[in-house]
Amino acid sequence: MNTVTVVGASLAGLYAARELRAQGFDGRLVIVGAEPHLPYDRPPLSKDFLTSDPSNLLVGGAAEAPLALTDTEEIGELAAEWLLGVHATGLDQHARAVLLDDGRSVVTDGVVVATGASARRLPGPWPAGVHTLRTLDDARALRADLAQGTRRVVVIGGGFIGAETASSCVALGHDVTVVEAAPLPLLPQLGPDMGAFCADLHRRGGTRLLTGTGVAGLHRVASPHSHSHSHSHSPGHVTAVELSDGRLLPADVVVVGIGAAPNTAWLAGTSLAVRDGVVCDDGCVTSLPNVVAVGDVARVGGVRAEHWTSATELPRVAVRNLLAARTVETVTALPYFWSDQYGSRIQFAGHRPADATVRIEEGSPDDGSFLAVYEHAGRVTAALAVDCPRPFMKVRRELRARQVAAV
């Protein structure tokens, strides 16, 4: 294998590049990144990045320094060709060339698909003041809007991005409402008991939480707003969010946190199977042995996990299998994610069957610090901790050891 192209220059792409070199690949390494930035860490974008000192608000200011995932020394060691600000638009039939939107193509022997996911948008016009939060540029734009004084912020979606953004907005002194279509936030991820706990976090934190209602549309004023710089916005500025039950929520800033869709459009027309992600076997190998997929875009063994930890754990196995030209190792990672909301740190690890029951193992939700375990068929399958890191680590290790032993 002379050339490997990593398509995607975020967390999973960077980890794949690192693994290629660490596992002895000394050929030509090309990294294609759609964003103009070197790899950076996304989780802080909804947390510290939004709430950092206003004196750091300049682009490239102090708030952005901790985001950098790599440095000059490592970039030198990787000896890769970085094609940043360039979108991959296609892959030829046998994945021997990656086509780019600037008209170039990269002739390659192996491909790591690490194109991630994009924030889902609401249908219809997209007036100024309406944001998604996925990229550094998204976060810069939102932060700039939030620096205009006290705003009425409506967050659409009570998932992790929505909850963390709402928490950050409240910390900045804004008037915040979260709209969640389900009866409780984070139901699919955490189940009803812990979803109820998270609903309390919103209320205790000073956020208005409206559940069980969808969004009918956005209201806007027709005249262009002076703060609008983005040409992608249609004329006008958002004024309110209309709910499906008819209520109208006045809004200066709207954050749309309704999930992310895997970036697979560029693979249309190839023989790769795409079904809400690039379909891979348990070892991240696609239907072509010289193409592997990692991170948010990869559906590995039937599961697509948009977790930071998956993006860092999949590449080792994926690269090993790519270099071996077949699946010699499968993924045994235990799902893990965390979220910081209203000063509480939530950590979750494991698998949560829909009918799992929750038992508080240590501490108490009323005190805001506890360890809960999810049990199914007499076994602990997952754990959730709120500000309870040490007991959580113990359970997480036990779950991980059991998962590895089961493979």
Binding site: A68, D71, W82, L84, G85
Partner: protein, 142 residues
């Protein structure tokens, strides 16, 4: 020299966090005492709440692991060391002797990306070029 606690109040396998600026974590690793900056060099998490195994501590948030003897990370995602501090026991009380902030080596972040990155990435340097000045600034000002 900052008093921490009585030696008997920090049994093997335990740790304690000092509310200094920045906070410091003190560990009893199987009888050996170590002190390092409490905040993980990767992201905001308290190493005093980490998993202690031998003289290694694993961060509770992303499992970055540090060698308490040197402060060096032994695996990703941490890439920078945490400061180590000298520990002494005087009359049965544990004390920490804080290391000067300037003693922390500052890595050289990517600032010269234009030399490495081919055309079309003029914006690429902005994220990490500023990391350079900021990290340096933190190192000398903290």
């Amino acid at each position: 020299m900052i008093p921490v606690c009585r030696l008997e109040d920090l049994p093997a396998g335990e740790s304690v966090r000092l509310d200094t600026t920045p906070p410091v974590a003190v560990f009893n690793a199987d009888g050996a005492l170590y002190a390092v900056d409490d905040t993980c060099s990767h992201q905001d998490a308290s190493l005093s709440e980490g998993w202690l195994e031998g003289c290694l501590v694993e961060c509770p948030l992303h499992a970055a692991t540090f060698d308490l003897r040197t402060g060096q990370p032994t695996c990703l995602p941490a890439r920078r060391p945490v400061r180590t501090h000298r520990v002494s026991v005087v009359d049965g009380t544990i004390h920490v002797h804080l290391t000067e902030p300037a003693a922390v080596p500052v890595p050289v972040p990517a600032s010269a990306t234009s030399a490495i990155v081919p055309a079309g990435v003029s914006g690429a340097g902005s994220l990490s070029a500023t990391a350079h000045s900021t990290l340096t600034g933190e190192g000398s000002a903290a």
